[in-house]
Amino acid sequence: MELDQIKEDILKEVANIGAGNAATAFSGMIGQEINMTVPKVELVEIQELPSITGDEEEYIACILINFSGEISGKILLVVDMENVEKMLKLIFSTDDLPGKEMQHSALNELGNILSGAYLKAINDFTDLDLDQSVPAMAYDMAGAVLSSSVIDYSQTEDFILLLETEFFAGEEKLELFYFFIPQKDSLDFLFKRLVGDNFA
Protein backbone atom coordinates (compact mmCIF):
# COMPACT_ATOMS: atom_id res chain seq x y z
CA MET A 1 0.00 0.00 0.00
CA GLU A 2 1.24 3.46 -0.88
CA LEU A 3 0.42 6.18 1.60
CA ASP A 4 -0.62 9.12 -0.57
CA GLN A 5 -1.92 12.45 0.75
CA ILE A 6 -5.60 11.55 0.50
CA LYS A 7 -5.19 8.30 2.37
CA GLU A 8 -3.00 9.92 4.97
CA ASP A 9 -5.60 12.65 5.57
CA ILE A 10 -8.39 10.10 5.90
CA LEU A 11 -6.40 8.06 8.38
CA LYS A 12 -5.49 11.15 10.39
CA GLU A 13 -9.14 12.04 10.63
CA VAL A 14 -10.02 8.51 11.71
CA ALA A 15 -7.27 8.57 14.34
CA ASN A 16 -8.35 11.97 15.56
CA ILE A 17 -11.97 10.94 16.03
CA GLY A 18 -11.02 7.64 17.66
CA ALA A 19 -8.40 9.12 19.97
CA GLY A 20 -10.70 11.99 20.98
CA ASN A 21 -13.33 9.56 22.17
CA ALA A 22 -10.71 7.37 23.87
CA ALA A 23 -9.37 10.45 25.70
CA THR A 24 -12.83 11.22 27.03
CA ALA A 25 -13.25 7.63 28.25
CA PHE A 26 -9.76 7.68 29.80
CA SER A 27 -10.54 10.93 31.58
CA GLY A 28 -13.71 9.42 33.02
CA MET A 29 -11.77 6.44 34.29
CA ILE A 30 -8.99 8.28 36.11
CA GLY A 31 -10.80 11.50 36.98
CA GLN A 32 -8.20 13.76 35.34
CA GLU A 33 -8.27 15.96 32.32
CA ILE A 34 -6.52 14.26 29.39
CA ASN A 35 -4.56 16.00 26.67
CA MET A 36 -3.54 14.24 23.51
CA THR A 37 -1.04 14.84 20.74
CA VAL A 38 -2.20 15.31 17.15
CA PRO A 39 -2.30 11.77 15.77
CA LYS A 40 0.59 10.76 13.54
CA VAL A 41 0.12 8.43 10.59
CA GLU A 42 3.27 6.67 9.51
CA LEU A 43 4.52 3.68 7.59
CA VAL A 44 7.22 2.37 9.89
CA GLU A 45 9.87 -0.13 8.89
CA ILE A 46 9.49 -3.26 11.00
CA GLN A 47 13.09 -2.96 12.18
CA GLU A 48 12.29 0.38 13.80
CA LEU A 49 9.30 -0.93 15.72
CA PRO A 50 11.18 -2.04 18.88
CA SER A 51 12.23 1.56 19.56
CA ILE A 52 9.04 3.50 18.71
CA THR A 53 8.45 4.38 22.35
CA GLY A 54 12.11 5.10 23.17
CA ASP A 55 14.76 2.78 24.58
CA GLU A 56 14.19 -0.80 23.41
CA GLU A 57 15.47 -2.17 26.72
CA GLU A 58 13.17 -0.06 28.87
CA TYR A 59 10.72 -1.98 31.08
CA ILE A 60 7.18 -1.34 29.88
CA ALA A 61 3.63 -2.60 30.17
CA CYS A 62 1.72 -3.27 26.97
CA ILE A 63 -1.94 -4.09 26.47
CA LEU A 64 -2.79 -5.67 23.11
CA ILE A 65 -6.27 -5.83 21.62
CA ASN A 66 -7.09 -7.35 18.25
CA PHE A 67 -10.06 -6.05 16.33
CA SER A 68 -11.81 -7.56 13.37
CA GLY A 69 -14.80 -6.96 11.15
CA GLU A 70 -14.87 -4.89 7.99
CA ILE A 71 -11.35 -3.75 8.79
CA SER A 72 -9.00 -5.66 11.06
CA GLY A 73 -5.94 -4.82 13.07
CA LYS A 74 -4.46 -4.30 16.50
CA ILE A 75 -4.50 -1.70 19.22
CA LEU A 76 -1.50 -1.33 21.52
CA LEU A 77 -1.37 0.68 24.72
CA VAL A 78 2.18 1.18 25.95
CA VAL A 79 3.12 2.67 29.31
CA ASP A 80 6.45 2.64 31.14
CA MET A 81 6.45 1.18 34.64
CA GLU A 82 6.63 4.51 36.44
CA ASN A 83 3.51 5.66 34.62
CA VAL A 84 1.74 2.35 35.22
CA GLU A 85 2.02 2.97 38.92
CA LYS A 86 0.78 6.55 38.63
CA MET A 87 -2.13 5.39 36.52
CA LEU A 88 -3.11 2.59 38.89
CA LYS A 89 -3.08 5.01 41.80
CA LEU A 90 -5.50 7.23 39.90
CA ILE A 91 -7.74 4.33 38.86
CA PHE A 92 -7.96 3.01 42.43
CA SER A 93 -7.95 6.54 43.94
CA THR A 94 -5.37 5.48 46.52
CA ASP A 95 -1.59 5.25 46.95
CA ASP A 96 -2.07 1.90 48.62
CA LEU A 97 -2.45 -0.37 45.60
CA PRO A 98 -4.26 -3.73 45.77
CA GLY A 99 -2.57 -7.02 44.79
CA LYS A 100 -1.13 -7.83 41.37
CA GLU A 101 -4.23 -9.62 40.18
CA MET A 102 -6.43 -6.60 40.77
CA GLN A 103 -3.84 -4.39 39.10
CA HIS A 104 -3.77 -6.62 36.01
CA SER A 105 -7.48 -6.68 35.81
CA ALA A 106 -7.66 -2.88 36.10
CA LEU A 107 -5.19 -2.53 33.22
CA ASN A 108 -7.16 -5.01 31.14
CA GLU A 109 -10.26 -2.97 31.82
CA LEU A 110 -8.43 0.19 30.81
CA GLY A 111 -7.47 -1.53 27.54
CA ASN A 112 -11.06 -2.57 26.93
CA ILE A 113 -12.44 0.88 27.63
CA LEU A 114 -9.92 2.85 25.57
CA SER A 115 -10.04 0.53 22.58
CA GLY A 116 -13.81 0.27 22.83
CA ALA A 117 -14.18 4.06 22.79
CA TYR A 118 -11.74 4.40 19.88
CA LEU A 119 -13.45 1.74 17.79
CA LYS A 120 -16.92 3.04 18.61
CA ALA A 121 -15.99 6.50 17.32
CA ILE A 122 -14.62 4.98 14.11
CA ASN A 123 -17.73 2.89 13.81
CA ASP A 124 -19.99 5.96 14.17
CA PHE A 125 -17.91 7.90 11.65
CA THR A 126 -17.50 5.23 8.98
CA ASP A 127 -20.40 2.90 9.70
CA LEU A 128 -17.95 0.00 9.73
CA ASP A 129 -18.72 -2.91 11.98
CA LEU A 130 -15.79 -3.68 14.28
CA ASP A 131 -15.39 -6.22 17.09
CA GLN A 132 -12.62 -6.30 19.63
CA SER A 133 -10.93 -9.27 21.29
CA VAL A 134 -10.23 -9.62 25.00
CA PRO A 135 -6.98 -7.85 25.91
CA ALA A 136 -3.65 -9.63 26.26
CA MET A 137 -0.78 -8.17 28.27
CA ALA A 138 2.99 -8.21 28.52
CA TYR A 139 5.41 -6.57 30.94
CA ASP A 140 8.98 -6.62 29.78
CA MET A 141 11.66 -5.01 27.59
CA ALA A 142 10.03 -2.66 25.09
CA GLY A 143 11.83 -4.23 22.14
CA ALA A 144 10.79 -7.76 23.02
CA VAL A 145 7.18 -6.78 23.61
CA LEU A 146 6.68 -4.47 20.63
CA SER A 147 8.35 -6.76 18.10
CA SER A 148 6.24 -9.70 19.29
CA SER A 149 3.00 -7.73 19.19
CA VAL A 150 2.87 -7.43 15.40
CA ILE A 151 5.03 -10.36 14.39
CA ASP A 152 2.12 -12.00 12.56
CA TYR A 153 1.86 -8.97 10.26
CA SER A 154 5.50 -9.17 9.29
CA GLN A 155 5.14 -12.44 7.38
CA THR A 156 4.93 -10.69 4.03
CA GLU A 157 5.27 -7.04 5.03
CA ASP A 158 8.37 -5.02 5.80
CA PHE A 159 6.41 -1.91 6.84
CA ILE A 160 3.68 -1.47 9.44
CA LEU A 161 1.08 1.29 9.28
CA LEU A 162 0.94 3.09 12.63
CA LEU A 163 -1.64 5.61 13.81
CA GLU A 164 -0.08 7.01 16.94
CA THR A 165 -1.39 9.30 19.67
CA GLU A 166 0.08 10.11 23.05
CA PHE A 167 -2.18 10.85 26.00
CA PHE A 168 -1.13 13.04 28.91
CA ALA A 169 -2.95 13.46 32.20
CA GLY A 170 -2.45 17.04 33.42
CA GLU A 171 -1.28 17.22 37.01
CA GLU A 172 0.28 13.78 37.15
CA LYS A 173 2.24 14.11 33.89
CA LEU A 174 1.04 10.65 33.08
CA GLU A 175 2.07 9.48 29.63
CA LEU A 176 0.52 6.70 27.58
CA PHE A 177 1.24 5.69 23.98
CA TYR A 178 -1.72 4.56 21.91
CA PHE A 179 -1.13 2.75 18.62
CA PHE A 180 -3.81 1.80 16.15
CA ILE A 181 -2.39 -0.66 13.64
CA PRO A 182 -4.83 -1.57 10.87
CA GLN A 183 -3.97 -4.45 8.61
CA LYS A 184 -3.10 -2.60 5.44
CA ASP A 185 -4.97 -4.90 3.07
CA SER A 186 -8.18 -4.36 4.98
CA LEU A 187 -8.08 -0.58 4.52
CA ASP A 188 -9.40 -0.43 0.96
CA PHE A 189 -12.80 -1.06 2.44
CA LEU A 190 -12.44 1.97 4.69
CA PHE A 191 -11.23 4.24 1.90
CA LYS A 192 -14.09 3.16 -0.36
CA ARG A 193 -16.59 3.73 2.40
CA LEU A 194 -15.34 7.25 3.08
CA VAL A 195 -14.47 8.44 -0.42
CA GLY A 196 -16.79 6.39 -2.57
CA ASP A 197 -16.46 3.59 -5.07
CA ASN A 198 -14.42 5.66 -7.48
CA PHE A 199 -11.56 5.62 -5.06
CA ALA A 200 -8.53 4.32 -6.90
Binding site: P50, L64, A136, D140, M141, A144, V145, S148, I151, D158
Partner: protein, 167 residues
Amino acid sequence: MIILPSPDQVAEKLVVKMADHAVGDENTVLATLGLGSCIGIALYDKFSKIGGLVHIMLPENPGGKKIVKYADTGISFLIDEMEELGARKRRLSAKIVGGAGMFKSESGDSVMKIGERNIEAVQEQLKDIGIRITGSDVGKDYGRSMYFHLDDGRVEVKSFSRDLITI
Protein backbone atom coordinates in the same frame (compact mmCIF):
# COMPACT_ATOMS: atom_id res chain seq x y z
CA MET B 1 48.38 8.46 34.36
CA ILE B 2 45.61 6.64 32.58
CA ILE B 3 46.78 3.80 30.41
CA LEU B 4 44.40 3.26 27.56
CA PRO B 5 44.17 -0.21 26.11
CA SER B 6 45.62 -0.45 22.64
CA PRO B 7 42.94 -0.34 19.94
CA ASP B 8 43.25 -4.01 19.00
CA GLN B 9 42.32 -5.06 22.53
CA VAL B 10 39.03 -3.21 22.45
CA ALA B 11 36.31 -5.32 20.95
CA GLU B 12 34.12 -3.59 18.42
CA LYS B 13 30.44 -3.91 19.34
CA LEU B 14 27.93 -4.29 16.55
CA VAL B 15 24.22 -4.15 17.36
CA VAL B 16 22.09 -6.30 15.10
CA LYS B 17 18.54 -5.06 14.56
CA MET B 18 15.49 -7.22 14.16
CA ALA B 19 15.44 -8.95 10.74
CA ASP B 20 19.10 -8.18 10.27
CA HIS B 21 22.49 -9.86 10.64
CA ALA B 22 26.19 -9.15 11.16
CA VAL B 23 29.46 -11.08 10.98
CA GLY B 24 32.84 -10.40 12.54
CA ASP B 25 36.18 -11.73 13.77
CA GLU B 26 37.67 -12.22 17.24
CA ASN B 27 37.79 -8.49 17.96
CA THR B 28 34.03 -8.19 17.73
CA VAL B 29 31.04 -8.44 20.03
CA LEU B 30 27.75 -8.98 18.22
CA ALA B 31 24.69 -7.94 20.20
CA THR B 32 20.98 -8.01 19.65
CA LEU B 33 18.54 -6.39 22.09
CA GLY B 34 14.98 -7.13 23.09
CA LEU B 35 14.38 -10.60 21.65
CA GLY B 36 10.77 -11.57 22.34
CA SER B 37 9.33 -14.28 20.13
CA CYS B 38 12.14 -13.59 17.66
CA ILE B 39 15.29 -15.74 17.83
CA GLY B 40 18.92 -14.68 17.78
CA ILE B 41 21.11 -17.35 16.18
CA ALA B 42 24.84 -17.11 16.92
CA LEU B 43 27.08 -19.23 14.68
CA TYR B 44 30.74 -19.65 15.57
CA ASP B 45 33.81 -21.19 13.98
CA LYS B 46 36.15 -21.62 16.92
CA PHE B 47 39.25 -22.19 14.77
CA SER B 48 39.05 -19.03 12.70
CA LYS B 49 37.15 -17.21 15.49
CA ILE B 50 34.72 -15.92 12.93
CA GLY B 51 31.16 -15.54 14.10
CA GLY B 52 27.82 -14.39 12.79
CA LEU B 53 24.51 -13.38 14.34
CA VAL B 54 21.10 -13.25 12.70
CA HIS B 55 17.90 -11.97 14.36
CA ILE B 56 15.00 -13.83 12.74
CA MET B 57 11.29 -13.10 13.28
CA LEU B 58 9.47 -15.96 11.56
CA PRO B 59 10.00 -19.65 10.69
CA GLU B 60 9.60 -19.73 6.92
CA ASN B 61 10.13 -17.39 4.03
CA PRO B 62 7.04 -17.32 1.81
CA GLY B 63 9.07 -15.49 -0.86
CA GLY B 64 9.86 -12.25 0.96
CA LYS B 65 12.77 -10.08 -0.13
CA LYS B 66 14.16 -9.53 3.35
CA ILE B 67 15.64 -13.00 3.63
CA VAL B 68 17.24 -12.57 7.07
CA LYS B 69 13.77 -12.09 8.59
CA TYR B 70 13.10 -15.84 8.31
CA ALA B 71 14.79 -18.84 9.95
CA ASP B 72 15.13 -20.92 6.80
CA THR B 73 16.63 -18.35 4.43
CA GLY B 74 18.34 -16.33 7.20
CA ILE B 75 20.55 -19.13 8.53
CA SER B 76 21.80 -20.17 5.07
CA PHE B 77 22.52 -16.56 4.20
CA LEU B 78 24.51 -16.07 7.40
CA ILE B 79 26.62 -19.17 6.70
CA ASP B 80 27.47 -17.87 3.22
CA GLU B 81 28.56 -14.52 4.66
CA MET B 82 30.74 -16.23 7.27
CA GLU B 83 32.37 -18.50 4.68
CA GLU B 84 33.36 -15.44 2.71
CA LEU B 85 35.26 -14.24 5.79
CA GLY B 86 37.07 -17.57 6.06
CA ALA B 87 34.82 -19.65 8.32
CA ARG B 88 34.14 -23.28 7.42
CA LYS B 89 30.61 -24.61 7.52
CA ARG B 90 31.59 -28.01 8.96
CA ARG B 91 33.29 -26.30 11.91
CA LEU B 92 30.29 -24.17 12.90
CA SER B 93 28.37 -24.53 16.14
CA ALA B 94 25.25 -22.63 17.15
CA LYS B 95 23.78 -20.92 20.19
CA ILE B 96 20.18 -19.83 20.09
CA VAL B 97 18.29 -17.32 22.24
CA GLY B 98 14.67 -16.09 22.28
CA GLY B 99 11.41 -17.64 21.08
CA ALA B 100 9.40 -16.47 24.10
CA GLY B 101 5.63 -16.14 24.34
CA MET B 102 5.34 -12.51 25.45
CA PHE B 103 1.61 -11.88 25.62
CA LYS B 104 -0.81 -13.49 28.04
CA SER B 105 -4.55 -13.27 28.46
CA GLU B 106 -6.02 -12.38 31.84
CA SER B 107 -6.28 -16.11 32.62
CA GLY B 108 -2.51 -16.42 32.10
CA ASP B 109 -2.55 -18.29 28.79
CA SER B 110 0.01 -17.40 26.14
CA VAL B 111 -1.86 -15.83 23.21
CA MET B 112 0.57 -16.23 20.32
CA LYS B 113 2.46 -19.40 19.49
CA ILE B 114 4.94 -17.86 17.08
CA GLY B 115 7.85 -18.14 19.55
CA GLU B 116 7.43 -21.91 19.81
CA ARG B 117 7.18 -22.24 16.03
CA ASN B 118 10.36 -20.22 15.66
CA ILE B 119 12.25 -22.49 18.09
CA GLU B 120 11.17 -25.61 16.23
CA ALA B 121 12.04 -24.14 12.84
CA VAL B 122 15.50 -23.00 13.96
CA GLN B 123 16.33 -26.33 15.62
CA GLU B 124 15.16 -28.25 12.56
CA GLN B 125 17.00 -26.02 10.12
CA LEU B 126 20.28 -26.32 12.04
CA LYS B 127 19.88 -30.09 12.27
CA ASP B 128 19.26 -30.35 8.51
CA ILE B 129 22.39 -28.33 7.75
CA GLY B 130 24.37 -30.39 10.29
CA ILE B 131 25.21 -27.63 12.78
CA ARG B 132 25.29 -28.66 16.43
CA ILE B 133 23.52 -26.47 19.01
CA THR B 134 25.97 -26.03 21.90
CA GLY B 135 23.96 -23.52 23.90
CA SER B 136 20.36 -22.52 24.09
CA ASP B 137 18.16 -20.19 26.16
CA VAL B 138 14.74 -20.28 24.53
CA GLY B 139 11.01 -20.27 25.24
CA LYS B 140 9.32 -19.19 28.48
CA ASP B 141 7.64 -15.80 28.74
CA TYR B 142 10.27 -13.11 28.97
CA GLY B 143 12.40 -10.92 26.70
CA ARG B 144 16.16 -11.30 26.31
CA SER B 145 19.17 -9.37 25.03
CA MET B 146 22.23 -11.31 23.86
CA TYR B 147 25.91 -10.45 23.59
CA PHE B 148 28.03 -12.78 21.46
CA HIS B 149 31.78 -12.48 22.18
CA LEU B 150 33.79 -13.67 19.21
CA ASP B 151 37.10 -14.03 21.09
CA ASP B 152 35.82 -17.29 22.62
CA GLY B 153 32.26 -17.78 21.37
CA ARG B 154 30.48 -17.20 24.66
CA VAL B 155 27.01 -15.69 24.63
CA GLU B 156 25.74 -13.61 27.55
CA VAL B 157 21.99 -13.40 27.94
CA LYS B 158 20.40 -10.57 29.86
CA SER B 159 16.77 -10.32 30.94
CA PHE B 160 14.63 -8.54 33.52
CA SER B 161 13.38 -11.83 34.92
CA ARG B 162 16.65 -13.26 36.18
CA ASP B 163 20.41 -12.74 36.50
CA LEU B 164 22.72 -12.60 33.51
CA ILE B 165 23.66 -16.05 32.26
CA THR B 166 26.42 -17.23 29.94
CA ILE B 167 25.82 -20.05 27.49
